[in-house]
């Protein structure tokens, strides 16, 4: 594969696509697929064939268009977006291509949900066919890789990423450029790149969407990373619970190997790179980098103390670069447009955009990509469209089981790494769950503690025993049997876990409790002193301590 050959592929694909005067895109990402979007696509295909328009009209399965709650979504070349489309609507949609849109299915795109977004990671989602490398190449795909390989030295690539100010999108926000330069400087016979796609946070589905909608973008990011740090082997660690993402990823790897973008001597250079998929097996702790490495090595996913950091001693004892899916997905645009371009987006310390999975009690649930620094109020009330059924907003939960619940007072806070941490939550991987007054905060804290308790790997005692004890107290509070002393012990345990646990899971497990205690302390007191649950969620009949 030479740069000229790649350009040839892009040219051929663009010409082929240019022949179609009409285009209909059907979302075939997991969200819409479970609303039968495959049947919609099949029926549109049949309708096109029936009308003998196969030469002019293209029906394409594409990735996520964002508004998952209104699926299946269909977009047309005339710029109309249709929602809740059924197989029976295909004739009406075909009719509408030359004339007026189908009124009853139209989804308005002039609303904040679409207008406030700025797409970098998701630029191709909803536009290209995730199963065809040609489509990706035609929309500037792999151009960044060619640029890096032919015009830049590895050092320059690292510098460009550093200049962009990109920070790890997995949650902790470690500067990506710094991580890359550490691995690049480390000495080892063989270096590895690992893509962390073990998206374990309940309520987060950004990585799944990116892998399902635009898998080549992630591969390209990994290839550039491999070139920059001097690695020749890479693994993508994906949750086994995402069968569609795994299928598309494997397909993408095969295609890239076939055209010579993966393998030996890529683009006629000395750079060789191999990517392999590793399946997770359902362990939340494997999102922690040292546990993930253990799992890739075929062992139980338990973390180990750091240092040595994986950048020095990682997979099979060799220097290893681990980044999240979304981090890798940002790399190609940064190399293409330059680090300065990326650094101009976002806030002073948090650059670029962030993809959020908006879910829970909001009108518009789905995937959104917004510039850093947007306020929570804009997220919930403008993009999210507010709370349904005229209920009152109560809290927004970010960061999954490691994050916290942010109350009304925090709504005007900008969304960036520092502000969220200051408010007692974390950016996390991007799950954002909105709760209204029907949710009880003690119950929510108990839910997350149950999660951490079950997911604790059991290696260190503060986490293994502490989460159990905290869950026991929270259950007692929910059952109205707790005493004020219990609350004190709970607070002590929060402190203990935070400071003495081995890995991020235990250290951040108290976050949901700390943040709800801080903002919704009166709810805890109502349970303990008045034996009442203000939201009417907690009852007395729940079993104590027993979980699944």
């Amino acid at each position: 594969m030479t740069p000229e050959e790649l350009e040839q592929i892009a040219e051929t694909e663009r010409t082929a696509q240019g022949q179609f005067t009409q285009k209909v895109n059907v979302c075939v990402a997991a969200g819409c697929l479970s609303c039968q979007s495959q049947a919609v696509k099949d029926s549109l295909d049949q309708e096109v064939a029936k009308r003998g328009k196969k030469e002019h009209c293209q029906v394409k399965g594409v990735g996520c268009m964002g508004l998952c709650s209104e699926g299946p979504l269909v977009s047309t070349s005339s710029g109309v977006l249709y929602k809740k489309v059924e197989a029976g609507d295909s004739a009406a949609i075909m009719d509408s291509l030359d004339g007026k849109p189908v009124e009853k299915l139209v989804c308005r795109t002039d609303v904040p949900f679409f207008q406030r977004q700025q797409k970098i990671v998701l630029e191709n989602s909803g536009n290209i066919d995730p199963d065809r490398i040609e489509d990706y190449v035609a929309s500037n795909g792999y151009a960044a890789l060619i640029k890096a390989l032919t015009e830049m030295s590895p050092r320059e690539v690292v510098d460009e990423v550093t200049k962009s100010g990109l920070r790890g999108r997995g949650g902790a926000g470690y500067p990506t450029g710094l991580k890359w330069s550490t691995v690049a400087k480390s000495v080892g016979t063989q270096k590895y790149v690992i893509c962390n796609a073990d998206e374990g946070d309940p309520g987060a589905f950004m990585d799944r969407s990116v892998l399902e909608s635009d898998p080549h973008r992630v591969l390209e990011g990994m290839l550039i990373a491999g070139y920059a740090v001097g690695a020749s082997e890479a693994y993508i660690y994906v949750r086994a619970e995402y069968p569609l993402a795994i299928k598309r990823l494997r397909n993408a790897i095969r295609q890239a190997e076939r055209v010579g973008l993966l393998g030996a001597n890529i683009c006629g250079t000395r750079f060789s790179f191999r990517i392999d998929v590793r399946l997770g097996a359902g362990a939340f702790v494997c999102g922690e980098e040292t546990a993930l490495i253990a799992s890739v090595e075929g062992k139980r996913g338990t973390p180990r103390p750091r240092p040595p950091y994986p950048a020095m001693e990682g997979l099979f004892g060799q220097p290893t670069l681990i980044n999240n899916v979304e981090t890798f997905a940002n790399i190609a645009p940064i190399i293409r447009n330059g680090g300065a371009w990326y650094a101009a987006i976002g806030t002073e310390k948090s650059k670029g955009t962030k993809v959020f999975a908006l879910a829970g009690r909001v009108e518009n649930t789905g995937l959104v990509e917004v510039p850093m620094g947007i306020s929570l109020r804009e997220m919930v009330f403008e993009i999210g469209g507010g709370i349904p059924e005229g209920r009152k907003f109560k809290a927004v939960q970010t960061g999954g089981p490691s994050g916290g619940c942010l109350p009304t007072e925090c709504l005007d806070m900008p969304v960036d790494y520092e502000s969220l941490a200051k408010a007692g939550s974390i950016m996390g991987s991007g799950g954002m769950i909105v709760m209204d007054e029907s949710s009880c905060m003690v119950d929510v804290a108990k839910y997350f503690m149950d999660f951490c308790m079950t997911e604790s790997c059991g290696k260190c005692i503060p986490c293994r025993v502490g989460t159990y004890q905290m869950h026991r107290i929270l259950t007692a509070i929910g059952n109205m049997t707790a005493t004020p002393e219990d609350l004190k012990v709970l607070e002590q345990l929060c402190d203990l876990l935070k400071h003495t646990s081995l890995c991020g899971l235990g250290q951040s497990a108290p976050n949901p409790v700390v943040s709800t205690l801080k903002s919704f302390g009166e709810e805890y007191r109502a349970h303990i002193e008045d034996h009442k649950c203000p939201a009417g969620v907690c009852g007395v009949e729940q079993p104590v301590g027993e979980t699944v």
Partner: protein, 166 residues
């Protein structure tokens, strides 16, 4: 020089062991392939029994304790065969605040089993998931690999009735 250890022969004539052997070969008969191999076994047989664990451990030259440790550490692996149908209820945060606990309650009462168990007639297995990633469709339930969104208590009861009666 490492001494040559003959690869053990599969426990029986079942053709599915060929798939397992292929994975073992691809992993170079090395310990690092343990999770990948267990995935293949579970995909082929539906669950991991003692015989399979012994065979995999021997083939990859790891102690049986380690194979068993890995198989029990990860939630995805199961040591018991599943029922004819499986019903997975998502307990992710979005589903949880939109009523997944009520769904689970209803199903537990109807079937008389707890999550992770199978009904006595081996018809239905009930499972819970951490998060399916279909949060836009909360609460979500998976009936035999098929994801259903915005499920009501009534809908899940109706669906289960079809399985248990038939």
């Amino acid at each position: 020089m490492a001494s040559y250890v003959a690869k053990p022969t599969p426990p029986n004539q079942d053709k599915r062991w060929k798939l397992v052997d292929a994975t073992i070969r691809r992993q170079g008969q090395q310990a690092r392939g343990l999770i990948e191999t267990l995935h293949t076994v579970q995909e082929a047989f539906g669950y991991l029994d003692e015989q399979a664990l012994r065979y995999v451990a021997m083939s990859l030259r790891v102690p049986l304790s380690r194979a068993y440790g890995v198989a029990t550490f990860y939630h995805f692996f199961t040591l018991k065969p599943a029922g004819e149908h499986t019903c997975v209820i998502c307990m992710g945060t979005a589903c949880y605040i939109k009523g997944a606990p009520q769904l689970l309650d209803a199903v537990q009462k109807d079937l008389g089993i707890r999550p992770g168990e199978t009904t006595a007639d081996k018809k239905v297995s009930l499972l819970t998931a951490r998060c399916l990633g279909s949060c836009g469709l909360a609460p979500a339930v998976v009936y035999d690999q098929e994801v259903a969104g915005k499920v009501s208590t009534l809908a899940v009861r109706e669906h289960l009735k079809k399985w248990t009666v038939a």
